[in-house]
């Protein structure tokens, strides 16, 4: 995490991810999640009824107390005491039962909603192409799938219900007050005005702050992820304290924004308690005057203030629940940002009847989104079924990009790539990616068993097929691992050496039995002997498949029938190795074995 990482992380987070227009359609994001509630409609109705009934009982129980005092105690009838006791008992048990029902059902419904949104989010992320994943930070995606979804769950499971119950309570009580003595009732109703105004203002500030906190949490998660994934590099340079400092700064940023939130909400919460109290004082004063003039009886005045006291708690609770709601809204915004991103790469409907593996690049160009220069331009290349073509070019000349266009990890921005005459964009992704398998230079292994890593592209591979693929890739070392094929390899396969990882990745690609096999400089970390053995075995595989081999070295190039030279983003020469060696100086420059000669010349010059 270099010095400006935090700043640049934020920047990239804000420029590359479509940042929300701060206040546009926020409630609608949350509202748009309502289809997820649909399966639980019946339950939700029951839950609401239970909640309302519970509130009703809560009001009735104290009334029984009045009955006891006014009835048996006043009249001295012991007999009437027992039925009232039993009634209170029954209602009390009923209330508890309703709470049980409501909570039990609500918990399941809300968690069900959270789980299905998360499932959909994950499915959507898997559909989104590499272009998306390259520009979105992992922590931002993760925080949306975890932190944000729990904020939504909390609101749906607790806040929403209480918001409505409290609103009902406030409106009912205010209605009763108006009914009791309208001038004072009006006064109470009028106190809602400052509350509403302040609430709106608070909301504006708070939504902004909570969105910032959520974004900053995503950035922090990214830092954590990188610091763990890059732990070897950090250790190698002893940069632990330095990285800790960068993390500390990011945590401090969250701290500051969170403190902003604390400041805002503490003022708002306090205000929500002050207003009813001040109103109470005003009511007391004006009410007393009204009693003085005889417009109001003392009894009504007592009843009025008692009832009014019941407003204090709901109004102050409103603050807490509004906060919850706002966090859920910004969270829903962030979740919808991802779900609203259309996958730029979707499969077509075509299937290749009898795949032969005839691969053609027809005037292909590729420019990364936002870049002003193309990586590839006007690339023409015809690879016949069963033929192997090596792609040679300088570091960063676009070789990997070229190979990634075949399985549509990226899409061409110009021209087209065809496979057996079909534009790859017309093929279904499954069909296409079954035909094409790539062994990446960076092997991308997962922390699962060797077997699962190998069979990534083909679940149903038999033991023999696996053994054969392992043999071809010279990956026999897997049998020496403590649990053989069942050994779980560490994250990214880091418990293995670079060469071992590459050989596993190669075995994986071979096992997929593709029509088109792409080897993206797959042998770079192998020692000379192993490389020779692998190449020997690969020749057999490449006889049956069309091959694209990205190579830096003559030894690898020799796997191919022809070589395509990639210069300045386009293929300038195609031909056999020795021919290019003899006629193309640029090619010679790239592949000349005579490393030491220029070095000696250099020295001679010095």
């Amino acid at each position: 995490m270099p010095p400006d990482t935090v700043a640049s992380a934020r920047e990239s987070g804000t420029t590359r991810s479509p940042l929300p227009h701060p206040r546009r359609a926020r409630i609608s994001s949350l509202w748009r999640l309502r289809p997820y509630l649909r399966p639980y409609t019946t339950r939700l109705i029951v839950i609401w009824l239970a909640a309302l009934a519970g509130v009703g009982i809560g009001i009735v129980i104290p009334l029984i107390g009045r009955e006891v005092i006014d009835g048996p105690v006043a009249s001295g009838e012991t007999g009437a005491l027992l039925p009232l006791f039993l009634l209170a008992l029954a209602l009390g048990a009923g209330e508890a039962l309703l709470v049980l029902l409501r909570r039990w059902m609500l918990g399941e419904a809300v968690l069900g909603v959270e789980t299905s949104i998360r499932d959909d989010l994950y499915a959507h992320l898997q559909r989104l192409p590499m272009g998306f994943h390259g520009s979105w930070q992992s922590g931002q995606l993760l925080s949306r799938a975890t932190t944000d979804l729990s904020a939504i769950r909390r609101f749906l499971g607790f806040g929403m219900l209480f918001l409505v119950l409290i609103s009902v309570q406030i409106v009912t009580v205010t209605g009763l007050l108006l009914n009791m003595y309208w001038p004072l009732g009006l006064l109470v109703a009028a106190s809602a005005l400052p509350i509403a105004l302040i609430s709106l203002r608070f909301e504006r500030g708070y939504v902004d702050a909570s969105r910032r906190v959520q974004d900053q949490q995503g950035d922090l998660a990214t830092l954590v992820e990188e610091s763990a994934a890059g732990i070897r590099t950090i250790k190698a340079f002893g940069r632990g304290p330095y990285v800790g400092g960068v993390f500390g700064d990011a945590a401090l940023k969250i701290y500051r924004t969170a403190m902003e939130k604390v400041g805002l909400s503490s003022r708002f919460f306090t205000f929500l308690e002050v207003v009813p109290n001040v109103t109470l004082a005003v009511v007391l004063l004006t009410g007393a005057l009204a009693v003085g003039t005889g417009a109001l009886t003392l009894g009504t005045m007592v009843a009025f203030t008692t009832l009014m006291l019941q407003l204090v708690w709901p109004i102050s609770a409103l603050g807490f629940i509004l906060v919850m709601g706002q966090e859920a809204m910004t969270a829903a915004d962030r979740v919808m940002e991802v779900l609203d991103t259309e996958p730029a790469i979707v499969g077509g409907t075509d299937a290749v009847e009898r795949p032969r593996g005839h691969l053609r690049f027809e005037g292909v160009g590729f420019t990364f989104p936002g870049a002003d220069r193309p990586v590839l331009r006007d690339v023409w290349l015809d690879v016949r079924p069963g033929e192997t073509v090596a792609v040679v070019g300088a570091t960063g000349s676009g070789k990997t990009t070229l190979t990634s266009l075949v399985p549509r990890l990226h899409d061409v921005t110009e021209g087209r790539v065809t496979l057996d005459g079909h534009d790859v964009r017309d093929l279904s992704l499954t069909a296409l990616r079954t035909m094409v398998a790539t062994a990446f230079e960076e092997p991308t292994l997962f922390s699962m068993s060797v077997r699962e890593n190998l069979t990534l592209g083909r679940h149903d591979a038999t033991e023999e097929e696996m053994a054969a693929a392992v043999e071809i890739a010279q990956a026999g070392f897997v049998h020496d691992l403590p649990w053989g094929l069942e050994t779980r390899i560490g994250e990214q396969g880091m418990s293995l050496s670079g060469g071992q990882r590459q050989r596993l990745a190669l075995a994986r690609a071979v096992l997929a039995r593709p029509k088109v096999l792409v080897l993206d400089d797959t042998l770079s970390a192998l020692d000379v002997e192993t490389e020779a053995l692998v190449e020997e075995a690969l020749r057999r595989v490449l006889r049956d498949a069309t091959g694209i081999v990205v190579a830096h070295r003559a030894s690898t190039v020799l796997l191919a029938d022809r070589v395509a030279l990639l210069l300045d983003g386009t293929i300038t020469h195609v031909g056999p190795h020795h021919e290019l060696m003899a006629t193309v100086p640029e090619y010679r420059e790239l592949l000349s074995a005579a490393l030491d000669e220029p070095l000696d010349e250099q020295e001679a010059l010095l």
Partner: protein, 627 residues
Amino acid sequence: MSGTTKENQKTETTGESPGWRGVAAENQDELSERASFLLRARSRRLLAELLRPYRREIAVLVAVIVVCNGASLAIPFLVKVGIDSGIPPMTSGQGPGTLVTVVMAVLVAAALQAATRQVFLRRSGRIGQDVLLELRRRVFAHFQRLSLSFHEDYTSGRVVSRLTSDIDAIYEMLESGFDGLVTAVLTLTGTAVLLLVLDVRLGLVALLPLPVLLLFTRWFRRQSSIAYRRTRETVALLIVHFVESMAGVRAVQAFRREPRNQEIFGRLNVDYRDANIQGMRLISIFAPVVKLIGNVTIAAILLYGGWLALGGHVTVGVLAAFLLYLRQFYEPMQEISQFYNAFQSAGAALEKLSGVLEERPDVAEPRDPVPLVRPRGGVRFEAVEFSYLDGTPVLPRMDLTIPAGQSVALVGTTGAGKTTLAKLVARFYDPVAGRVLLDGVDLRDLDDETLRAAVVLVTQENFLFTGSVADNIRFGRPEASTAEVVEAAKAVGAHGFVSALADGYDTQVGKHGGRLSAGQRQLVAFARAFLADPAVLILDEATSSLDVPGERLVQRAMRTILADRTALIIAHRLSTVEIADRVLVMEGGEIVEDGPPDRLVRDAGRFADLHRAWRESVSDLPGRLPG
């Protein structure tokens, strides 16, 4: 991604160590009584430690909240006083004097309540955030201190889940729970005292269910701690899978792994949901039972109190007050159960975090570090033995002296122990026996900063961080100027490609350096190491992804780079080896040949064979061409 195999292995390797220490208990949710007790004690200790600096402030806050609650309780009381003794004088024409006083008192109480509330919310909010910040920093720094062997087992996904989801759980408690808890506890004790003062008999009856309630709460706490532990664990697994499959999304898509991943993720998601449901169900039982106990008590007071009132043993007023306060007594209990969710969740999270903090790095910092002022770079292995965890010896016994300034190439087949040797010099691991010395000092006696300034290891991983190219080179020496960064890039031959990038040195490298090619990443990593300017530079396959011109550039640069420092070079491409002063051929963890490259080639031993094979592989003899 599916965790089963790993867990099996883990239990086997950690079988004999106590099951609750460090992170060992992370995969278990049902623990023995004792282990569970120890875990709770450990997380309580951590919490106490985190809160210790604020204990005065917390005491003040408790006082503040007492005043706040007092003021808030005074308001209804004042209103009653106002009605009872303020209004009658007005109707009887004695003027509004009393009423005005009472109204003023109400306003004062309201102001007092507002002020104290404001102070409380702000201060407690700040303490909460302070604690969170401290916890984040502490856990992060601790993860950084822990050894590679820990990280290899633990996975980055888990690190992420500890530092995001667990911290979130604590944050949630601090945000919603603290305030509620303090208020509830205060109301509870206040009301209990009040009830007993009002009438001892009724008070005792009212408080009779309290022991039952406590026992029930204990049961609930035990059950739910299991459930919440499971929640923490399942969410960690979910995050591990999420992080890993997103990091490897290219392979996932290329190999059509999506359906299977969806299946795995779906299962983990359901596990997490079920753990949550279990927790929620417990709360769904807890809350109504508390409500039931409260309601039954109210009914009992109705009966007993009514009977007492009938007999004239208590006044109607006392009975009325009882019924009113009793409601108030059991209401906060409800609130506590509301927040219990957050508490239990935070408790489980604290358990996990305290476990991480308890882990000790295998490669420990020395207690009395030996200073190393100007490291010259002399490396010595004295009877060094090394084996990995599973017990297979990698280095049986190694004696080796590398004088300062020498460039040594390590050659040998995969598994010969070259990388292990390199990692021992960089102290990624400690030897099982013997010692590794730098300038005569045991590596274990050097503090991390000194060691890392002197020894830098460059591997083929070349991890790049989000940020610009310049940022990544500067990682080698954060205080380096831009000119020095460019200088380093020039020295290793990376300047050419960097200046050709769209934004030059300011080009963003993307997630994990994904916007650069493998070769470019390697050059950046190389520049980074050069900028760090260590006395000992170890290159483990650091040039494997370079193309021939790139490698040629690096070769050329190497002479300057290695001129005044000790170097250990591991490379399959023997071109790199040729510039070394000395070659060590390793086999089965032992050095079988040792000498300058020219001599070894002449000697016709292992190295001579390797050298010949390599010459052939890079040559373009027509005879090897197909057809």
